[in-house]
Symmetry: C2
Subunit: 221 residues, 2 copies
Amino acid sequence: MMSPEEARRRPPTAQQFVLGELRRAITTGRLRPGAPIRQDALAEELQVSRVPLREALKMLEGEGLVTYQAHKGYCVATLSLDDLREVYRIRELLEEEAVRRAVPLLTDADLARLDAAQDDVERAAAAGDVPAMAAANRVFHMTLFDCAGMPRLARLIRTLWDTTDAYRSMYYGDAGNRERVIKEHRATLDALRRRSADEAVTTLNVHRDHAVAELEPLLHA
Amino acid sequence: MMSPEEARRRPPTAQQFVLGELRRAITTGRLRPGAPIRQDALAEELQVSRVPLREALKMLEGEGLVTYQAHKGYCVATLSLDDLREVYRIRELLEEEAVRRAVPLLTDADLARLDAAQDDVERAAAAGDVPAMAAANRVFHMTLFDCAGMPRLARLIRTLWDTTDAYRSMYYGDAGNRERVIKEHRATLDALRRRSADEAVTTLNVHRDHAVAELEPLLHA
DNA sequence: CTCCCGTATTTTGGATCCAATATTGAAAAT
DNA sequence: ATTTTCAATATTGGATCCAAAATACGGGAG
């Protein structure tokens, strides 16, 4: 038997539940990049059979979060340096488009939501809560991208973020990085309030470049 | 028992076999956009159980080729006019990047492969073989994109092509379109041989715009 | 005649079971 | 000691079976 609140949150199918759990486990780093995924053990841990687990894994394979070899199984995907640079380059292209489309459509309500998201980021940073900050940061950016009114574009960007989330958490471990992120967000918000797409794009590009510069060394380990 | 040739072609797992078959069925239009997918019937038709079929469907869901609703099942995805424009806009961004990266890296062997691909396109066009022309056209473009040395970018572009393939086949039904495609490919090849990224990008943009202009009316049906 | 409700049927979701493949380890041959 | 082979084990792949949900259908009330 499940408690009502639990039942409300839990997705209506086991595959969706497992998908969410797996995504979290990978993007938070609880499942390390490169680690093989033992279906039996994972299924038991999540209290489901292997069937919905395998469906969830196929989904993640499509998104590039796990790799698959026939008859050998799934592994958490690893990122090479080239992969990292490629992902960030593609993000640059897609996110610029999203921002340029979003800026003329921004409503006051949108700006308020962005402010609220930024507050969450700053609160998490002040508390030194790294996972919370990573989550809030993501909400901040996705809120903006969603304003572009291009759902497929937003989805692509999301999956690109997913592939590097496991590494991004490390980035927020550093207090200096946390502070810089906040400043850069404020600059972005400022540009958005002034409806300057060019400036918003520029500040976000700088923001991204800082992240990739910090991330690169971590990939050699 | 399987014949040796058949065994060699057929993927090592049923899920991969089904994935290929489904992809073909959807992109060639044998499974119509919007059509619900009856798992039992399809599984029997492909001579497999529902388990590998469902794994393949999850993969296609991730790529956006089918839609899924819990407890209701899968349908072949349909494209709205907005979807079409969005997909082509994203393609424009990503393909421009791919071409600009590819041009300085193009070897004579690459150009020879592109020429060969173009020959296939023209042969299929002369024969009036629409599916063959669609396939050859795809090979032509992907050959170029693969030269960029950005595998993730190429994969993204491929999945974007997949989502519109079902409609693109109609495009080649028209003889005028077939002829124009050939001309535009030749212009592109010319630009590539002269190592002019700008011109290649321009011709490909024109090429794409023609396609989307022809495709738009078809989406109202 | 229309609408609503309850039952029958279809279809999907998931668990278990068996088969096929890969991996591991130990014994034997060089 | 090293390598090779083969058997034992672990793990994945797939088929069948059962449960749960949605859809379709038919009867009754208004």
